[in-house]
């Protein structure tokens, strides 16, 4: 569902540009609104959320999908935790659909999906691994690197049970905006994937904006 936001950049509490292949890790307080902007289009923001009070409670794709009875995320979707509690709500979305089935790229899955010799190419899971190593104060380890959201990705499932990766939904400047219902830690890998035609083999920056 397309829903625009009336929030103005000049009123933002914080902004950050995240280059392709970099990570973003920050705490968002309950009541704050958090926007991710696809600056140049067809980028994937591979995103994980944790409850700040206890990071073992985290975003759960399965609980979110099951509770809303739908595979795709858009305005109105409430993101659920692995304890089936409400965590964030998508309050604006100019893209219309985001994926949470396809997961993140990893050097290991790249060997399977593309070529055994792709094992040393940079991948989202490596960005997350570096993020948790460089930010020990969050108390995250590999066990917390779980099933993510791919903002701006379009991964349609067919009636026959097929899975396809399509481009064409996102475009330069499109955004998704979430309101935190509890204090959350957000961890984004701005995808560095060079093997997938979805991004035209050209990963690009995203922008993150936070409002109080």
């Amino acid at each position: 569902m397309i829903k625009h936001s009336d929030k103005k950049i000049e009123n933002a509490a914080a902004t950050a540009t995240v280059a392709a292949g970099d990570y973003y890790l920050a705490e968002i307080k309950a009541g704050q609104t958090f926007r991710i902007v696809d600056l140049e289009g067809n980028q994937a923001a591979d995103t994980l959320f944790y409850c700040a009070d206890d990071p073992t409670e985290r975003y759960s794709a399965m609980d979110t999908i099951r509770e809303q009875g739908n595979l795709y995320l858009t305005a109105g979707t409430v993101l659920k935790t692995n304890a089936n509690n409400s965590m964030l709500e998508i309050v604006a979305d100019t893209c219309g659909r985001h994926d949470t089935v396809g997961g993140a790229c990893a050097t290991e899955s790249n060997t399977v999906r593309y070529d055994l010799e792709k094992r040393c190419m940079h991948a989202c899971r490596d960005s997350w691994m570096l993020a948790i190593q460089e930010n020990e104060e969050y108390g995250l380890d590999k066990n917390d690197i779980a099933h993510n959201i791919n903002f701006f990705m379009n991964v349609p499932v067919t009636k026959e049970g097929g899975l396809t990766f399509e481009d064409g939904i996102s475009a330069p400047g499109k955004y998704v905006e979430l309101k935190a219902l509890v204090d959350v830690i957000v961890l984004i890998s701005n995808c560095p994937q060079l093997n997938n035609p979805c991004n035209g083999y050209n990963p690009t920056p995203i922008e993150v904006v936070v409002w109080d």
Binding site: T56, E57, R58, S60, A61, M62, D63, I65, R66, G69, N70, L71, Y72, N82, A83, N84, R97, V101, G102, G103, A104, A106, E108, S109, T111, V112, R113, D115, L116, R125, K142, N143, D144, A146, H147, V155, P156, V157, T158, K159, G161, G162, L163, T164, F165
Partner: protein, 245 residues
């Protein structure tokens, strides 16, 4: 039953029946097949997979689905870990569509649909849920809820319409079976609790049969190996893992 005096006998076979609403875990060695059979129809088996050497290596549903370009699991598919390896291959399947994205019912779902979970009154007929079942089994290996990944729900078909709306469209009938061939040593954690989208009037308590027996080696003609180029590369990753083993 197995013969304790001859545990490596290649004809050894282990068979057990598991009631509905139960949970279990078992280490399955490479080369062993595990067959699940729905005894009465309408069963659901939630299952997760871990590397017993590094428990942080676990079944990864997204990697499994996207490398085989599928949303459903059936014969010919392999189940991948997050480290690019294959835990097991689906070598036989009479059902055709097992789902791996809807997770488990929590206690509050079961309570809302069918009433509470009460061992004091109901003994082993209590209405156990998949989430608590997995928590119990995970704790036995020092694992907590952070280890709970997107599990497989065997014998439950969930399909999506054009807008992504999901429906539990079919469940297995009596006698339906699926056979997994294990390609590496794997800790298997399972429950037989109802699928989270099950909406039957009474709590479905459906038993399954579980058999384990020595499998045949993978050949050049193997259906799972040849299912797609990605699976061949997955098997190559296993070969590297097993180098010198």
């Amino acid at each position: 039953m197995l013969n304790i005096l001859n545990p490596t006998d290649s004809t050894s076979r282990y068979t057990t029946n598991i009631d509905g609403g139960s949970h279990w875990s078992v280490l399955v060695r490479r080369g062993v097949n595990l067959r699940l059979t729905d005894l009465e129809g309408g069963a659901n088996v939630g299952m997760m997979f871990y590397n017993p050497v590094w428990l942080s290596e676990r079944y990864n549903a997204p990697d499994t689905l996207k490398c085989q370009h599928t949303f459903k699991l059936t014969q010919g598919n392999c189940l991948y870990s997050d480290m690019g390896r294959i835990f097991c291959s689906i070598i036989e399947d009479s059902f055709g569509w097992h789902e791996t994205m809807c997770g488990n019912a929590h206690a509050q779902h079961v309570s809302k649909k069918w009433g509470g979970r009460d061992y004091q009154s109901d003994r082993n007929a209590w209405q156990q849920n998949g989430y608590d079942s997995f928590l119990v089994e995970l704790a036995k290996y020092g694992l907590d809820r952070t280890a709970m990944v997107a599990n497989v729900n065997w014998f439950s078909e969930v399909s999506a319409d054009d807008n992504g709306n999901l429906k539990l469209t079919r469940q297995s009938k009596a006698g339906d079976a699926v056979t997994l061939r294990f390609e590496m040593d794997t800790l298997v954690v399972l429950h037989t609790c109802p699928h989270p989208m099950n909406s039957e009037a009474t709590y479905p308590k459906k038993p399954i049969r579980l058999e384990m027996f020595k499998g045949e080696p993978v050949t050049e003609q193997d259906e799972c190996l040849n299912h797609c180029a990605e699976n061949r590369r997955g098997f190559e990753n296993n070969a590297l893992y097993l180098l010198g083993a």
